[in-house]
Symmetry: D2
Subunit: 344 residues, 4 copies
């Protein structure tokens, strides 16, 4: 049994971790912390949990004191993970950070976009970027995994095989749309029902925090600088990201050839589903599951439109985190991850 | 021209007042205050207003200093209206309070439900309860109008004629459902998209603040104590209240007779629409307008179900406030009020 | 292994059956029929199923010819189940009908409300009404189970213990609200997005088909005629029913005593969750699961408001059907039923 | 007074025409036809109209027989407008066609995309393309106006000034998102609540019918072939289109310079609103109004992202149609058009 602790269990990603880990046959959850709800049971806080395994939130201090775990999931605001990660790692506890603190190798970009000084630089260097479909080997051996942002996951999985096969120009446009739970559980104007319902908007065009993350990853894959435009939008729904990605091919390739490249890399990936020609993913086909769905259409001899879909809380956050854990501890990578979609 | 001021112009009811009053041919808006957005223009705050009449929010202090108005609308949190109302009234300025401070004549109930001491008791006695269809004469002469709660409006308009004609037992069940804008513009857990979207709940069963308001009004109309159960619910939509009201008839009456009673009172009421037998109101048929729509079905020889619909921000708040203003200043009662419904 | 067939697998209840049965360790699905989609695979029809167990829809004729099953689930329009049920039952195959054909023992009411002649009267007499929490023994032995309507399930589970303990007057008001999936997968004006979104309405007041069903069941439980008003409403959301039930107590009882009655009957029921005083169910706490959540508030010395919630497709249809199957075949009643709620 | 007839008055664009024209001081609506609802009053069909000007739908045959109009609006399915347009035009009645029959000058493209033979080629040649901000002079003199598609309107208005000033490369990506009312009032799987709610999808990528329309218009403006990728998506909301447009500048220009170009063309356009730098349009700021809102962000030295918003039923259909009418009949172009936004 893997003994795990969860820091920040009362947010949306924390609750999603609990949803998944509770069903995990090889995991024992030792403690779940929540500064805001310490002392409360999970079912008091979230009645969805009535009649299921109950548990009391502990404080951060208790979490650290408790220790006794092999792995800690950090589901904390950016800036908070750094210190706790260092603390646990130093004690030999492995860490999966669902926040942003270890995603960007380029510290100055981190500091620019997150407006905070990085205080765990050694660990940053060591951190594996947690997309198993791309960095499986690194993750397997990692002590610290930086769980990727939801948008980057939806962008990098479809692009990785095509970049590796060198069929893409390094010039691309990514038009992404996310459900509101991506903004977390804390009430703000951006998540206020009266402002979000029946509305659609672009936001942070040209300066979203996931832009440097996607760019750094693409640069790694392309092995050259990339011209990327990334526009996130907010959908009036709870779960789901759909990214529409506009690409230029280096040489003309048929749709079938592009699909074949995806299949070459992802044929045996449990959590990537490639759509047959003529059909495209929709968010409703992934909601609640760990799938990343991919489809494409050629719209010109050398222009391709890719559509990818994930559930931002599952493959975009907590599902992928558990997938990383499975990998780190030598378990079947699909263990306990939801393949069931709640449809309709 | 009626010179008006609006205190609390940046909330949802304040903005709805602006939407209506801006089209009013007999109104000059002299100032609009907002503590949070003073110094900002309305279009900066709410881009829906670009290209329309612009205006700068002033502070509360400036509002009072500005004066120079015949009427002030108070769109403030409960507890705040009392003092400002007194101040303006003393200067001879008439007041329509969209908050709760002057709705309950029974001070001890006010203090119990709003947990605050009442500090304008003289004015409280004088305040007219602002449903024109019921208290037209009082409102016409009033210096101070207490604009009713949204739920009470949806309940009292359908009941008034039936109570006056003494056909109802004083025992009733009111099951009301409201859109989320009723909770205002301030982000809270109760208006957080992730909590409200795709959800439905009852809340404050047996102790909602509109319960004593409805009860006091019913007692006035019945001239006896009333047994009322009132259950508010929260709908995952923005605008609209639907109340389902369960009534017992004193003697058997046909549906046609009940409709006839409504018509006797409301035939010439511009803002009450009586549905023909076999059809019932839906919220979408009133959204954006000042209408209160009424329909009924008999379900047993002496049992009737009434369905009423209003837009909680219009007839349930700002529309009714302007209707009261029209009445107080001798204008056509329908002036400037929206009869247009945004459908679909 | 129980060998099952599903007739009508492409509708919303059919797909929900598949969602649940696919995870069932004791079930082998032999065939799934769909007149409209025969020859198609489930994943072609519903991409949520990609990468999971695939299967081809067969025609009705093939379904019957295939046979080879111990149990058939009928997820068909009312009127269609009668003949197929008879056919299978005669061959010794047990049947759970998710439609309405065997719910009403009173044939004349069936014929009045469903406007169709009943053609399987012998089987009608034998059919067990499929709420395990109430009719466990009958279901265990049944060859034919009439799976209840979604609204009746949400009403009868909370009332059963209170009626059995004779604390209720036989006069009640039920104000129910359902999500749109209750209307099925076939596009109609009542399920058209432009008509349903941002709207709320009551419908079929006094003549909904679930009215005689609830009434017949209540009469059985009360052992006397019941005065019931039942008003269904349509919520702008996909899954979930919330029923607000207004009751009169025969004698004064404390909230704690009422809760104690529920606990006496449901303490060990896996799928009934009783909320502690001061809290009430919301649809979001049950969506995706087989739970029926119950809460209550006393609003007067002898008046009680009950709030119950179910997922209309799970406990209100396919989940309960599988629960009935488990019972009929001597399996653990909770086997394979979803306890997980997709929140947020 | 302009005497107008409306053919196809019961669809969403027909009802939106009625909403606007009923308030028009210079218009007398002589008849409104609806094949499906002939003989019914508008308020029977759509209770939003109770208590407002009522009117009976006539049949198509009666509409033609009635005649007696100066202008006919055709709000019919594509393919139906051709014949009626010819008929009315021959009688000297001017026509605004809200359908697609006269939008594409290239007949073979029409026939390819709409799969129907064009039967009014002479009139096609004469038809003006009805975006007043671009083709004001042509529309003023036109007997026949082809009212543009909703997507093309949202794309061409922002691009026109920039193309005219020759600052854009002829290579662009348009990622558009539309509310569900764009699909009309007829229930289909694509507008079924259970399929659309909480879902987001791209559709008809590379072969949407508005693609050749946008392309033909862009070619006219650029005076050269254009490389256009156009991806429409379906939003889970009722009204609103947001287009995100990705452009390449021929030479480096500052954001201020681009805004200045817009202002040069649109300074005095009542229905175009240019957002100040740092802010972008959202659909909620235009819903219910005839505005087309524009904003932009530079994301690289020569790369620009434009965001435009319209209400698909107003500026995207019926509002623009009335704007065209105003122009054709020498009225103030803003007459009767809604500038009010229903917010929240």
């Amino acid at each position: 049994m893997i003994r795990v602790g969860i820091m920040g269990g009362s947010g949306y990603t924390g609750l999603e971790l609990l949803r998944i880990l509770t069903e995990h046959p090889e995991v024992e959850i030792r403690w779940v912390s929540s500064e805001s709800y310490q002392g409360k049971t999970i079912e008091q806080y979230c009645p969805a949990w009535r009649g299921r395994k109950n548990r009391v939130f502990c404080s951060t201090a208790q979490a650290i004191q408790n220790g006794g775990v092999d792995l800690v999931f950090l589901a904390l605001p950016h800036g908070s993970s750094m210190q706790f990660a260092s603390q646990f790692l130093t004690q030999g506890v492995r860490v999966i950070d669902l926040g942003a603190d270890f995603r960007l190798k380029n510290v100055s970009l981190y500091q620019k976009y997150y407006e905070i000084e990085h205080q765990a630089l050694t660990w940053l260097t060591e951190a594996a970027y947690g997309i198993p479909e791309i960095y499986r080997e690194e993750i397997r051996k990692a002590r610290l995994v930086a769980n990727p942002g939801c948008y980057p996951t939806s962008v990098l999985i479809p692009l990785y095989p095509l970049i590796r096969e060198k069929v893409l120009e390094p010039t691309l446009v990514v038009d992404s749309k996310s459900g509101v739970t991506g903004a977390g559980k804390k009430p703000t104007e951006n998540s206020h029902f009266g402002e979000v319902d029946e509305n659609f908007k672009a936001y942070k065009v040209g300066n979203h925090r996931h832009l440097p993350e996607i760019k750094e990853q693409l640069k790694n894959l392309y092995q050259e600088e990339v011209s990327l435009i990334f526009t996130p939008h907010l959908l009036p729904l709870k779960r789901g990201i759909l990214s529409t990605i506009y690409l230029n091919l280096k040489q003309e390739l048929a749709e079938e050839e592009l699909i074949a490249i995806w299949k070459k890399y992802y044929q045996n990936e449990r959590w990537v589903r490639i759509y047959p020609l003529g059909s495209l993913p929709e968010t409703k086909w992934v909601v609640g599951s760990n799938f990343c769905d991919l489809g494409l259409v050629k719209v010109d001899s050398k222009k391709v439109v890719i559509v990818s879909c994930i559930d931002n809380l599952t493959k975009g956050a907590s599902g992928q985190a558990v997938q990383n854990m499975n990998l780190m501890f030598g378990l079947g990578e699909e263990t306990a991850l939801p393949s069931q979609v709640l449809y309709p």
